[in-house]
Subunit: 261 residues, 2 copies
Amino acid sequence: MKDKNIFIVYAHPEPRSLNGSLKNFSVEVLEKLGHHVVVSDLYAMQWKAEVDADDFLLDGRNKPFKVVSSSKEAYATGKLTDDVKAELKKLLWADAVIFQFPLWWFSMPAILKGWIDRVFAYGFAYGVGEHSDKKWGDRYGEGTLKGRRALLSVTAGGWSEHYSERGINGPIDDILFPITHGTLFYPGLDVVKSFVTYKTDKIDGDRFVDITAQLRVKLENLFLEEPIPFRIQNAGDYNIPVLTLKNEINIQGRGFHIHQR
Amino acid sequence: MKDKNIFIVYAHPEPRSLNGSLKNFSVEVLEKLGHHVVVSDLYAMQWKAEVDADDFLLDGRNKPFKVVSSSKEAYATGKLTDDVKAELKKLLWADAVIFQFPLWWFSMPAILKGWIDRVFAYGFAYGVGEHSDKKWGDRYGEGTLKGRRALLSVTAGGWSEHYSERGINGPIDDILFPITHGTLFYPGLDVVKSFVTYKTDKIDGDRFVDITAQLRVKLENLFLEEPIPFRIQNAGDYNIPVLTLKNEINIQGRGFHIHQR
């Protein structure tokens, strides 16, 4: 497996951080594997995080500013800003997208959330396909980015136990579900299990060697690993348009895991 | 119940939006109830969303920039920036904090995430109390903001069914758990059940009347309602320091709900 296009979206303010090192390591490994790698270093790019009317070059037609309809019109008519257009191009170029970031308050750093908020336009990442009583869009397993892969590589200060099945923070895969399922699977990406580095305040040389050895295996298997088996919206498991899991899907309990096959 | 101090953190780029209207409505209702209200309108304030070395006035001592230790030193020595200090003062003034925002990609808008990332400093919101093998800080029900309340008022484009127990997006209270539990209960706030407005693309005058009638009741009961019964970290339910729920806590299944009493 070589000659794939990999897009890394990286969000940390300090190049000499663990996140910076893991990003550099991934670039090196992926290029050695024969892939093509492009990085968006959001801090270095001084990425604008806040969605506002300036994002849509609609000549005053977006006043009062409506986020969704402005996004729809601007995407359809090529009136998004150049910074956003460049990211859209990278996404469409990529066979896989890797997000490298520290977990801050159990989610992405604001600058990365702002990348999602601004790049994931209406007509591109949402509002794709027929929306009616019979069909609720091409989403959750279908959509613009179908056929591509995504991986979260996340660092966390806490211990893996704190993020385990009965850990106080909640299971890490559940904490990341609004991202893996709600943000990446939504426009069609196949998301592989997240790569999480814990106890980041105590990383010495030995641990860094261990972590990068694991990350190397993860990257080598990026296109071979089975993705998280999230249920595809339009494959028969959900009632439309209420989009509740059908009663005959006999899965017990509550929680995000019921949305996996 | 009157004469309470209420701090509203509001994040929407358009004053004439549903979120702007709900914020204005809340201010009006709360003031009529005899409370004192302060609003941080993050877009109007041009709130800086990105954490970087400029947030900590440490004279180059934060190079290479380490987020956690810079935050710790800057908070302890009064070297946070004035915009952050002003928000800390409002939090300490408040008896309750209300967050009014649209749900974008199943989380906060970037500008609000950046408010959390920058204001929730080490020594204030995390890194509070003894951290050892015997105790893992004053957090999850204890900490600087103990005795105060928090409420999320969130708007969502989807239907309530999509966010129900078996809805495709996941249950709304689980989607908001990284915020209610991981961000607000963490530094000690008592969080009441979130107020969620659905189907926001179709709000006519009649529905707005219904929604505000419900919000009025919610606000009238802000200090009376039982908070979400999240388990307090240091009250005996968790093994320390691994912070897993004790085996004798006989709660079945997996998911965030096991962290409620």
